[in-house]
């Protein structure tokens, strides 16, 4: 009820904002360009952020309008329904100037509808400040249409500090150390891993992290686009590595059958509770949200980067909000360019709950050690890729109890049959890609 009202209010504000743009456009020729900056106009900007995130983003906007006093930026939170709102606005010919999209597939959809303006003017800024991965992720057919402004990191391992101390192990940096540490933790009397296998996406996330490191980013892209089959040797190799984690039932809380009955929140509370049932859980930077209250970061729980495999470059699987431009104007261009700068990233980074690919951002800017690790990995990453299952057709990559989710659950149950499961994955992929 409240949500619907809020949605309507947002829609009304959006309409209001659009009316303002129309008014603002007319005044452009007047060119009264304030005391700072040389652009003017009104920008309508929308994203899903509300509450604390909206405040933080407003601070980022304020940083821009201070330097460009001729520009007014009106931010509207679209909430969860943002994709629908934007699609409707595009259909009606009245999109905002700038929007932030959380779904990687949506950028391509809008490009195909001719709704987005290319960001050629910002290409160099993106390349130097955010890195090649950012350019690649934001490009459709080699034209840059967006870049990841706020990034999320799914390549993290969260651990119970007491359990690690008890076992006398340090957060490992390489896959071999990681597996050796897991054995040591198991010998110390607590299972090394908690796996939320009842939710299939935790398993695909683990696979993606291993695959990006064993097969490399090129193969990752090819597999994401189904240009190589799931029966490819690289997939089999990654699954063999994955079996070293999910195949050792003695070292998983509840064994493998227990893992398939454990949902994500339970997999987190298995590790982070007064009497933990496992020492570590592999998941993204949203884990702290599921940690029981009363546990302190750093002293009770902590985090390390998903380890490198065979000297793989620092790599991150993740997601985030991609900024795109619907309407070209000098003010919009200036704002987009501003978002690539370290200054813009710093404003939000200081406030927390933010990650940036910006390579100049000092990790010390993040408010605590946990965020420094989680978000720091983003700016240090040489390779950043979107969650592979998010890039698949929904029936194959995003449906409870079906497709990849189900097949990875089958794999956990029977980790020896790599050939069989890859064949099933390929069959399902072929069907989904049609």
């Amino acid at each position: 009820m409240t949500r619907r009202i809020r949605g309507r209010a947002a829609a009304l504000t959006l309409i209001g904002a659009l009316a303002l743009i129309a008014a603002g456009c007319g005044g452009d020729d007047g060119g009264s360009s304030g005391d700072g900056g040389d652009v003017s106009g009104t920008l309508a900007v929308t994203a899903i952020w509300s509450g604390a995130e909206q405040e933080a983003f407003q601070a980022v906007i304020d940083g821009f309008t201070e330097a460009n006093s001729g520009v007014t930026v009106n931010y509207t939170s679209g909430g969860d329904q943002l994709p629908t709102q934007l699609s409707t606005a595009v259909e009606g010919g009245n999109p905002p100037d700038i929007a932030f999209l959380g779904q990687p597939g949506l950028v391509r959809d809008f490009v195909e509808k001719d709704a987005l303006q290319p960001l050629d003017f910002a290409r160099e800024d993106v390349e130097t400040n955010l890195g090649d991965s950012a350019v690649q992720l934001g490009s459709v057919d080699d034209t840059l249409y967006g870049f990841l402004f706020k990034a999320a990191n799914k390549s993290l391992v969260w651990y119970n500090v007491a359990a690690f101390e008890d076992a006398g192990v340090e957060p490992p940096g390489t896959w071999d150390d990681f597996l050796a540490a897991a054995d040591t933790i198991g010998a110390s009397g607590i299972p090394a891993f908690s796996i939320g296998g009842a939710d299939g996406w935790t398993l695909t996330d683990l696979f993606e992290n291993i695959y990006l490191r064993t097969a490399g980013p090129e193969k990752y892209d090819q597999l994401a686009a189904h240009e190589i089959p799931w029966t490819d040797q690289s997939v089999k190799d990654a699954l063999t590595e994955m079996a070293k984690v999910v195949g050792n039932g003695d070292n998983i809380a509840g064994g493998t059958t227990g893992a398939l009955q454990t949902d994500f929140p339970t997999s987190v509370s298995n590790v982070f509770s007064e009497s933990p049932k496992a020492a570590q859980v592999i998941e993204g930077d949203f884990v702290p949200g599921a940690v029981e209250s009363g546990l302190e970061p750093e002293t009770d729980y902590n985090v390390f980067d998903f380890p490198a495999i065979n000297d793989s470059a620092p790599s991150v699987v993740g997601g985030g909000d991609t900024v795109v431009m619907f309407k070209d104007s000098p003010a919009a261009q200036a704002f987009i360019r501003y978002l690539t700068t370290v200054e813009a990233a710093e404003i939000w980074a200081e406030r927390g709950g933010f990650g940036s690919l910006n390579q100049d951002l000092d990790t010390g800017t993040y408010p605590d050690a946990i965020q420094q690790t989680a978000a720091g990995a983003l700016s240090e990453a040489e390779v950043f890729r979107f969650d592979l299952s998010d890039l698949q057709p929904a029936a194959f990559g995003g449906t409870v109890g079906q497709g990849l989710f189900k097949l990875f659950q089958d794999f956990v149950q029977n980790p020896d049959d790599v050939d069989g499961i890859t064949q099933q994955m390929e069959d399902a992929a072929a069907k989904a890609f049609g």
Binding site: A187, G258, A395, V400, Q409
Partner: protein, 447 residues
């Protein structure tokens, strides 16, 4: 244009002397007027969707290409849909009969107990909850962890009160020198003889699980005419070297160690000291096996996997029974109240036992009511959906699926294959038709 215009412009009925015909028309119009709301409602909400679904079931996923009966072929070749059909068959065979008989038993019994209203209310209560909420509740009851799932917690309590707890909760051999698991015994892989030292290193013992009086483990001196050894937690922070007694590794006191001949005959049994050492002082020459007795391990109960692929369907059936038993009881109790008492009394006077009265008088007289309950349940079961999706975790939805759930999963749950989804819907419809026909015939007879 002008032709159609003139036709449309014509008055529907020209003035005519035949008053009878006009009155007939008016009667029809009146009937049509009264029927129209219902007809429109049925047309829009029942007839049109039914026809569209049937039509749609002959087209492919995208809806563009006519594929004939291919979707129906998929129905009987896809493993998941076949599982759904099989599960639906189990539901149909088990649930209506079970619910009806449990309802009958409750209804008959509640007639004879005091506080029957309270009992009836309690049994009927689940009907007041939505099936989805009931499903969520039962999912929590069925959770595997005894700390979380109520059912396994109950079993754990019963189990613990029967099994004597050993000193060690769980343990694994630390190296290949030992074999076995804590589910049974752990023994040395190689036999030992007089003067040997038996090293029984165990891992996977939490530091909090080590008995409080444990001391630093000691590798004992060899004894000329006997066998000595040590049982210890072969772990120190960082791991240590497997199979070696090292500083910071604690002995495990109170562990039963058994000595057997290679033939299996028991020679002796002893307890370890606080430093984990044990000694069999005088043994004859020969080969012996050294083992840690299973009584040293308290078997930790990991919980029954109620929601695993094997037990999930029975688990859901039971929760469904919990919801519907009350309905059956109330309906049957009403029927029971309507049975003429004198018939029952006549039967008793004639010397019938309670069982005979129940079998030969009560049940036959209740037959119409029982049929109503049975058929209602039959139709309910064919369309069962919410409780399955609420209880079965994603990892076993393929194993627990039923036709209605599979229809939803196929058409809406991500695959968005409306072709096969419609085919499943039509299949369910066909299954329900005979029951509907039966019901309609019964209604007619009753009228």
């Amino acid at each position: 244009m002008s032709v159609t215009g003139s036709v449309a412009g014509d008055p529907p009925v020209t003035p005519t002397p035949e008053a009878v015909e006009s009155g007939g028309w008016r009667r029809h119009a009146l009937a049509a007027g009264f029927l129209a709301p219902a007809a429109i409602f049925l047309g829009v909400w029942i007839v049109y969707p039914t026809l569209t679904t049937i039509w749609r079931s002959f087209f492919d996923e995208s809806g563009d290409e006519f594929v004939g009966l291919q979707n129906y072929q998929t129905l009987f070749t896809s493993d998941v849909i076949l599982t759904a059909i099989k599960n639906n068959a189990i539901w149909v065979l088990v649930v209506p009969a079970l619910v009806t008989s449990v309802g009958l038993v409750f209804a008959v019994l509640t007639e004879r107990i005091p506080w029957s209203v309270a009992f009836k209310t309690a049994v009927f209560m689940p009907m007041a909850i939505s099936a989805f909420a009931a499903g969520i509740t039962w999912r929590i009851v069925y959770l595997q962890e005894p700390d979380r799932g109520a059912l396994n917690a109950g079993i754990a309590v019963v189990k613990d009160s029967f099994s004597s707890g050993g000193v060690l909760a769980d343990a694994r051999p630390s190296s290949d020198a030992l074999e076995g698991t804590s589910q049974g015994t752990i023994r040395l892989a190689e036999p030992v003889g007089r003067g040997d030292i038996a090293l029984l290193g165990l891992t996977a013992i939490g530091s909090s699980e080590v008995p409080d009086d444990a001391e630093q483990a000691v590798r004992p001196e060899a004894l000329q005419g006997g066998i000595r050894g040590v049982v210890w937690r072969d772990f120190k922070p960082g791991g240590g070297t497997a199979g070696e007694v090292e500083p910071d590794e604690l002995g495990l006191p109170g562990v039963t160690v058994k000595l057997r001949t290679s033939g299996g005959g028991a020679v002796g049994s002893t307890m370890t000291a606080t430093d984990g050492t044990f000694s069999f002082d005088e043994v004859e020459s020969g080969e012996y096996s050294v083992a840690i007795g299973s009584e040293s391990f308290s078997q930790s109960f990991g919980g029954v996997t109620w929601l695993g692929e094997k037990l999930v369907t029975p688990a859901i059936l039971i929760s469904y029974l919990w919801i519907w038993a009350g309905f059956a009881m109330v309906v049957i109790a009403a029927g029971l109240a309507a049975i003429p008492r004198d018939v029952l009394e006549a039967a008793r006077t004639d010397g019938g036992t309670e069982w005979q009265v129940f079998r030969r008088v009560t049940v036959p007289l209740l037959a119409p009511v029982l049929t109503v309950v049975f058929i209602t349940m039959l139709i309910n079961v064919l369309k069962v959906f919410d409780i399955v999706i609420a209880i079965a975790p994603g990892s076993v939805q393929d194993d627990a699926t039923v036709l209605a759930l599979q229809m939803w999963r196929t058409a809406f749950g991500g695959s968005n294959d409306f072709g096969v989804g419609s085919a499943i819907a039509v299949f369910i419809f066909l299954l329900v038709v005979p029951i509907l026909a039966l019901n309609i015939r019964r209604f007619r007879r009753e009228l």
